[in-house]
Amino acid sequence: MASALLAFCEWCNASAVGHAIRDSVWLFPFVEIFHLLALALLGGMILLLNMRLLGLRLRAEPIAALTRELYPWMAGAIAVMFISGFLLFCTEAVKMYGNWAFQLKMTFLLLAILYTFTIHRRLLLTADTHPRPLARALTVAISLLLWLAVGLGGRALGYVTTAVSSLAASR
């Protein structure tokens, strides 16, 4: 499993996309712009849904209706973040393979997406008829903590310097 992952990272590193973004001065920041815009949209919608769940904002709006409307947008924003993130990853995939912050970010990303589209979504869709204040507070807290961990991992990975594997010399 580990060697297959490393092989995949090496393949990304050596790919035409990896080369193109690495060799260009402006492609990396250009891709980052889309990553940041999608971050704002995704984060804004998650914040708004959580605020609604706590009764802080848009109290007149049914929670289920708001959820049904915003979830497709959130999925779209996650897709943009994933594609732009993957392109950025390709420029230094082997370095990222050994970067603990990146590993942490990916772990929490998986957990955050799973949580958002299962437990969080189910509670949002049933919240109009089931008040359950404690469950709401807990669901909001877990949502914010999981996504915060993803964000912090993303910030940290730029500061973590990793020993580049000898295999990375192939790039």
Partner: protein, 164 residues
């Protein structure tokens, strides 16, 4: 201006921002994560202006609901942005992207003021649950374009600054 930038760079606070291992990454992290609150809510508002989302709710209600948090987010962005600027004011100001970013933020502010002084003043006349007028949509598009330019210029600064 030059005089002010050098004076700022010589302050103890600026030196702390520059030399501390944690200050800059910490402030930058808050700056980036607050994008979700500030820019996220701006995007939600713009999409409402464009009649794309939250159409069941009047524009006036969405404005009333989002504005307090949007302003709080803006305050955090300005505060953290100023702190980051203080770390190396001379270098920041020397980049074209920094000047562009400031100009774009001012223009985005002008866009808000124009909306408030014109369309916002008689919102009750057009905000009746139907499609928003084209001038409201134009205001939303102007906001989207200007904030996109702010983000782009912000990224540009990071690459135009001399390496530490």
């Amino acid at each position: 201006m030059d005089h002010f930038l050098h004076w700022l760079a010589d302050t103890a606070f600026s030196a702390t921002m520059r030399e501390s291992v944690w200050a800059e990454p910490l402030v930058e992290t808050v700056h980036v994560l607050t994008l979700t609150l500030f820019l996220g809510f701006v995007l939600l508002l713009d999409l409402r202006f464009l009649d794309v989302i939250l159409r069941r709710r009047r524009v006036a209600e969405i404005l009333r609901q989002l504005n307090p948090w949007l302003f709080a987010g803006f305050a955090v962005m300005i505060l953290t942005g100023t702190l980051l600027f203080c770390a190396d004011p001379v270098a920041f100001y020397s980049t074209l992207f920094f000047k562009l970013k400031m100009i774009m933020i001012v223009l985005a502010g002008v866009n808000v003021l124009v909306f408030n002084a014109t369309l916002g003043k008689h919102i009750g006349e057009w905000d009746r649950g139907g499609a928003t007028p084209w001038r409201v949509k134009l205001s939303g598009i102007a906001s989207l374009v200007l904030w996109l330019a702010v983000v782009a210029a912000g990224r540009g600064i990071a690459y135009a600054l001399p390496p530490p």
